[in-house]
């Protein structure tokens, strides 16, 4: 894996929030490198900056300072529309609350990123079918999210994240709204995707699930305080 090209490189990334006159340093001096094909988890207690880091990694937010290179391209200071375009093409999101759109069917939900990309209808159909087959939800095409269990909804969300063949999957507490059985199933699904070559970056506060990743970084008060690789080995 060490020979794999670098997908993400962060150097000295900071994020400061200003609320009225209060200055909150959510992230401090983050140095992070993620190679293609890596399965990395970001762990830490509540409020340590995990989700903020994932937001910046996923181009939903921009850093206050520092540099961020995605696939060799500096993306820290892009315009909103440029960030949106890269997010659509290069990043797949899996949210804790699934975030499927209730008025759309499973098919339409998974189709969304491709629609915004301008993919042709025939290609969309094929890709959506493939993505749903990969997560074992191809038999629920015409169902609405409310007709699915939590585990099934998260599988659909994974299919939506996968459908555009992104460079990296960003998962924010993907098991947070699931019972342990469904949580395990989703983690197995992510592990399978990783084994098939996907790069996965997952935020979790649950150490059981953090161990599914081959590499884990631990945040505390906005700083990386520990990094482990494989079987709990600290580096």
């Amino acid at each position: 894996m060490s020979d794999a090209p670098t997908l993400i490189k962060m150097e000295g990334v900071k994020k400061v929030f200003y609320t009225d006159e209060v200055e909150t340093h959510a992230l401090e001096e983050i140095h992070l490198e993620i190679k293609k094909g890596t399965y990395i988890s970001i762990a830490g207690p509540s409020g340590c900056g995990k989700s903020t880091l994932l937001s910046i990694l996923g181009l939903l937010d921009s850093p206050s300072d520092g540099s961020y290179m995605l696939n060799g391209q500096p993306v820290g200071k892009l315009t909103i529309s440029e960030r949106t375009r890269i997010r659509n093409r290069e990043i797949g999101f899996i949210f804790q609350a699934f975030n499927l759109i209730g008025d759309l069917t499973v098919y339409e939900n998974v189709e969304l990123p491709l629609t915004y990309r301008g993919t042709s209808s025939a290609e969309r159909k094929q890709k959506v079918q493939n993505a749903l087959e990969r997560v074992g939800m191809a038999h629920r095409l015409r169902h609405y999210p409310s007709q699915l269990s939590g585990g099934q909804q998260q599988r659909v969300a994974v299919a939506r994240a996968l459908v555009g063949d992104p460079l990296i999957l960003m998962a924010d507490e993907p098991t947070g709204n699931l019972d342990s059985k469904n949580g395990e199933a989703v983690m197995e699904l992510l592990r399978d995707l990783h084994r098939n070559g996907a790069t996965v970056c997952m935020v979790t506060h649950d150490t059981r699930y953090a161990n599914f990743a081959e590499r884990s970084i631990h945040l505390f008060d906005g700083r990386i305080v520990e990094e482990t690789k494989e079987a709990g080995v600290s580096v």
Binding site: S51, S55, G58, L60, D61, S81, T84, R85, R87, N88, R89, F93, F95, Q96, A97, N99, I101, G102, D103, L112, P113, Y116, R117, R160, D172, E173, G176
Partner: protein, 315 residues
């Protein structure tokens, strides 16, 4: 002064005089189709009022009380009472039954004019020389002139006073004024309708704005998710436009048949209104579309400014 003419029944005031008639060799008509309106007019009446003579002649000074009785028919009268035949020289009489004297000869045909009201449909009309009417109840003088109407009025009053100081001259007005007075109630209705329509449009705009503003708030999370997945401002605007489009379609589906029904009703009370006037419907639809677009402008702009991070924060 260019021309002067008089008439017994003042034009465009709602007054009328009418009677059933019997036409020599005329068609068999239902009882309610045997009526005509009539007026006693002077020589020069038609040229003064600019009513085109289609055939025959106008009245002249020779059409005195002792001369043979003559009449001038309107187009509508000819269509009803003389279908397919030349009315000139034909005789008719006022009243019905076998004892009616067919003592009026038609000597001319004139174009239909709005006689009773501007909104009146053409109605069979016959003009008689006032000199041949046994009783004239009033007299309205029509004067065609290039002079300023105010100055002309003073001149006319002076002329009449010089002839007979006891002769009252009243209701002196221009024909434009006569038309305005006749259209007053119709214009009032139109103005009130337009005011209510404007109010309705304003309420519709406020309603659409309110609903869309609410929709945007309700769908903030969804919009955030869509933007997180790659929707740009144009996609979000389209989403809101679809929302307003469906509202407009439902409104048009319900409103168009209602509008047609109301227009059919308005046809009967408003001059120049046609229930099946496509330009009016096109204008109405265009206006509604414009109002809807204007009403959705701010909600759509607000929607495009949703921060995709809300998709995560809502968790």
């Amino acid at each position: 002064m260019i021309a002067v003419g008089t008439g017994d029944v003042p034009t465009l005031t709602g007054d009328d005089e009418g009677s059933n008639i019997t036409v020599e060799g005329g068609p068999q008509l239902a009882e309610d189709l045997q009526d005509v309106d009539y007026d006693a007019v002077s020589p020069g009446y038609f040229s003064t009022l600019g009513i085109p003579l289609l055939s025959g002649r106008e009245f002249n000074e020779g059409d005195r009380a002792t001369a043979p009785k003559v009449a001038i028919a309107s187009e509508a009268m000819v269509k009803r009472f003389f279908p397919g035949r030349n009315p000139l020289g034909a005789h008719f009489g006022f009243g019905g039954g076998s004892k009616v004297k067919l003592d009026f000869e038609i000597v001319g045909v004139v174009k239909d004019v709005k006689q009773e009201h501007v909104s009146s449909a053409p109605y069979p009309y016959v003009y008689l020389p006032y000199a041949q009417r046994p009783k004239v109840t009033g007299m309205t003088f029509y004067v065609r002139s290039t002079q300023d109407p105010l100055l002309l009025g003073t001149t006319l009053q002076g002329t009449v006073r010089d002839l007979d100081a006891n002769l009252p001259v009243y209701d002196l007005k221009t024909m434009e004024r006569v038309v305005e007075e006749d259209l007053f109630s119709a214009r009032l209705v139109a103005m009130l309708s337009a005011s209510f329509a404007g109010l309705a449009a304003l309420l519709a705009a406020l309603g659409i704005y309110g609903v869309l503003a609410y929709v945007v708030v309700q769908r903030t999370r969804e919009i955030g998710i869509r933007m997180a997945l790659g929707a740009v401002a144009g996609h979000v605007r389209l989403l809101i436009l679809k929302e307003v489009g469906s509202m407009v379609l439902i409104g048009v589906g319900v409103g168009l048949p209602l509008a047609y029904g109301l227009a059919r009703f308005s046809e009967s009370i408003l001059y120049g209104v046609h229930a099946s006037d496509p330009a009016v419907y096109a204008l109405g639809l265009g206006l509604i579309a414009f109002i809807a677009l204007a009403a959705c402008f701010f909600p759509a702009r607000r929607a495009t400014r949703v921060d995709p991070l809300v998709a995560l924060r809502y968790e």
